[in-house]
């Protein structure tokens, strides 16, 4: 395995572990409230327009 591939694997493993630790800390519902979900983004826009 090349050095760059080892670095990639190390980074990806770190991101996976960090995601798992984050879910353990804040819960999956916290993730599901983010703007990564188009439904949440649209809902926020509608709330702003209504206000």
């Amino acid at each position: 395995m090349k050095g760059s591939e080892i670095m990639n694997e190390k980074m990806k493993d770190a991101l996976k572990a960090a995601f798992s630790a984050t879910i353990a800390e804040v819960g999956i519902d916290c993730f599901k409230k983010t703007s990564l979900f188009m439904s949440n983004r649209r809902e926020n826009t509608e709330v702003k327009m209504a206000a």
Binding site: A14, F19, M38, N40, R41
Partner: protein, 181 residues
């Protein structure tokens, strides 16, 4: 400039362009995902598609729209551009409109599946910052447009920081900032 980056046998990060058909493939995929769930595609994604219109019409060296393809289906998309910004010693890669596919939004997935998409998306953006001629950058910013993004990404940033893979990572205001080693 890399158009398609394969991370493993099942994941690709694809620059979406009308001229080579990748945008049409992406749009057809998300439209089919919406149809399968009974959601109207235009209502679901119309506003986001409208803001990336210029970037999918012609290839630009320092900007693009990218789709994350997992197992043959587009699981997420984002807009990326590289620009010089005040207070930075070199250009910054900015990632905006990070959006999960309808299938991930409108049906329940496991934490593992959500994690796989988000990790792959972050990883691919960082990889672009390392390897791409036009988008290569030491500094990377991810836009967090909603106040509800901050609790999750602040925690994620802290947990990534503990693993010492970047020179720095922190959330400030509505952005997640990363500086590569």
């Amino acid at each position: 400039m890399a158009d398609v980056i394969e991370t493993d046998r099942t994941t690709q990060f694809v620059r979406l362009l009308k001229e080579n058909g990748t945008w049409q493939e992406f749009e057809a995929d998300w439209r089919a995902q919406c149809d399968a769930i009974g959601e109207d595609f235009e209502f679901y994604a119309g506003s986001t598609i409208a803001v990336v219109g210029d970037l999918i019409s012609s290839e630009q060296k320092n900007a693009g729209v990218f789709g994350l393809k997992i197992d043959g289906s587009y699981a997420a998309m984002c807009q990326i551009n590289r620009a010089g910004l005040p207070k930075y010693d070199s250009p910054v890669l900015r990632t905006r409109f990070m959006t999960l596919a309808p299938d991930y939004d409108l049906t329940d997935k496991s934490s593992t599946e959500y994690g796989n998409v988000l990790v792959s998306l972050l990883f691919e953006v960082v990889k672009l910052a390392i390897t791409d001629d036009g988008l290569g950058s030491k500094h990377i910013k991810f836009h967090l447009p909603s106040p509800q993004d901050v609790p999750f990404f602040s925690a994620l940033g802290r947990h990534i920081k503990e693993r010492d893979v970047f020179a720095s990572i922190e959330t400030r205001g509505m952005w997640l900032y990363i500086t590569r080693k």
